[in-house]
């Protein structure tokens, strides 16, 4: 597309089917301890596949 560049992202709708294993890190356990956010967490399954 000439005017739109789409980045490579995980399709959240598809993750309804292939997500939810629960092996991922608990958000607050890593560095913040004072403000939750899940955006900077990684999917354990995706990491294994990389």
């Amino acid at each position: 597309m000439k005017r739109i560049r789409t980045l490579d992202t995980r399709d959240l709708k598809k993750s309804v089917e292939n997500g939810g294993c629960g092996e991922c890190q608990t958000s607050c356990q890593s560095a913040c301890k004072t403000s939750c956010g899940v955006a900077n967490q990684q999917c354990e399954k995706c990491m294994e596949q990389k």
Binding site: R3, V16, G19, G22, S27, Q29, C32, K33
Partner: protein, 463 residues
């Protein structure tokens, strides 16, 4: 739902419910903004009036853009509908396992930091150290309640956990002795102020700890103002050489140098740059958690300054990355292709359900920030969670729990926000800490802008 913004010279469009991110030019940016509310002829007329002469834009080119938008919509990457809202209500009844514990091995501290949410490590109670027996039972409790989860997280926390280092070592040895047979993998984190860091601790942490969090607020004058020893002396000179030595020996294993910023250092990017200049590359800087009337508390009036700071940070990170001297900022880490699934994005940090804090006496709380607040005591490591009413409240804390979040583009990045922040700001864990929301959204915009810059830089270098 989409979210559009301009930052760092980029035009960015997020498709909230698919997670898609688009970098677009100005014409496409405006076309997308008009797409759902205007006819194609209206869009054409508006774009031709704005760009026809300036960019020599033709009607045919606008047709192309509109066709591209239509295609992205058909592909589920633009204007995607919310298909998760109904599912979110099932979360109340879902069964959960425990997969992470914050072990408060020391309710005491060798620093006396003015802003400590843990009230100088004591959490408004008595000074105490966790015994090995209590810690051992906590680890058994975790294994027993973890179901089929393999990866279990344990954070040694305080106060200052190294004031109980012998027990920390014994607990790690115990966990290692049971993990294979239990089919588990323990990941330990140590959060320390660095005062007691020495060669033995370094060797231990580099062998056993998946992550180490080192507390440093940045520039000496900023750090020393609030992070003092019990004798009232600043602790910067004491800990910085220890942190540098520690990180140098840690190699490529996980760590964060983590600071807290307050009203006293609204120019906190200078503290982050200072950390980077000290040689640290994995950095985190958090807004202070405080009562609104604390002298160092952040307020709405600080927001314009703080927004500029976050933008400045992103721009400087981009500059340093392009110059081959990158550093990581925790809140700008975002893995667009390998990030969390929708379940994680809806359910959030798991406080009170998957993640519990354990006091030196073995009491359970929803997370470290609720420790000491008796009405949030969930039970103990011997009897398990007995206060199921409070636990239900936490089960409900998800991205769809708050009416204020209904139209928010960021809810699948924050999962509805931190329950503790909400509680401290509004008196309810399902409340909304508005200042925190605004800062979070700004950080997400910056984080995604950096990913856009990275992708476009990469594409350019491949041309």
């Amino acid at each position: 739902m989409i979210h559009q913004y301009k930052l760092g010279g980029y035009n960015i469009v997020l498709d909230v419910f698919s997670g898609a991110v688009h970098a677009v030019d100005e014409v496409a940016y405006d076309a997308i903004a008009l797409y759902e509310t205007h006819t194609k002829d209206e869009i054409k007329a508006e774009l031709l009036a704005k760009y026809g002469e300036r960019e020599n834009l033709s009607a045919g080119e606008i047709d192309e853009v509109l066709a591209d938008i239509e295609q992205l919509k058909a592909d589920g990457k633009l204007f995607t509908e919310d298909v998760y809202a109904d599912r979110a209500f099932d979360f109340k009844n879902r069964s959960t396992v425990v997969k992470a514990l914050c072990l408060h091995v020391a309710h005491t501290c060798n620093l006396n930091c003015s802003y400590c949410f843990a009230a100088q490590g004591k959490y408004h109670g008595e000074r105490a150290l966790m015994s090995f027996e209590t810690g051992k039972r906590a680890l058994d409790f975790l294994v027993e309640h973890s179901g089929t989860r393999k990866n279990l997280e344990v954070d040694f926390f305080g106060g200052e956990p190294l004031m109980n280092f012998e027990v920390v070592k014994q607990l790690v040895a115990y966990a290692r002795s049971i993990e294979r047979q239990a089919g588990k993998n323990f990941r330990f984190t140590l959060t320390t102020n660095g005062v007691l860091l020495n060669d033995e601790v370094t060797e231990f942490a580099n062998r056993e700890c998946h992550n180490v969090v080192l507390s440093l607020d940045g520039r000496k004058e900023v750090h020393d103002r609030l992070r003092k020893t019990v004798n009232g002396q600043g602790s910067y000179d004491l800990i910085v050489p220890k942190f540098q030595d520690f990180v140098q020996k840690r190699g490529n294993r996980g760590y964060y140098v983590r600071g807290t910023y307050t009203k006293y250092n609204l120019d906190f990017t200078n503290d982050i740059f200072h950390m980077a200049d000290l040689g640290f590359t994995e950095l985190s800087m958090e807004p202070v958690v405080s009562a609104p009337d604390d002298p160092y508390a952040l307020s709405e009036a600080d927001l314009p300054t703080l927004y500029k700071q976050y933008e400045l940070l992103a721009e400087e990170m981009l500059r340093r990355r392009r110059a081959g001297k990158p550093f990581t900022f925790y809140h700008y880490m975002i893995d667009l292709s390998g990030g969390p699934c929708i379940y994680k994005r809806i359910s959030g940090c798991g406080s009170g359900t998957e993640y519990l804090a354990v006091t030196p006496w073995g009491d359970l709380y929803p997370c470290h920030q609720f420790v000491g607040d008796e009405k949030y005591r969930l039970g103990d490591i011997w009897s398990g969670v007995t206060n199921t009413e409070v636990q239900q409240e936490f089960k409900l804390c998800n991205a769809y729990a708050r009416k204020e979040c209904r139209d928010c583009w960021a809810k699948l990045y924050c999962s509805g926000g931190c329950a503790a922040n909400a509680y401290h700001a509004t008196g309810a864990v399902t409340g909304v800490y508005e200042l925190g929301c605004k800062l979070f959204k700004k950080r997400m915009e910056c984080a995604i802008m950096l990913k856009v810059a990275e992708a476009l830089d990469k594409a350019e270098s491949n041309m």
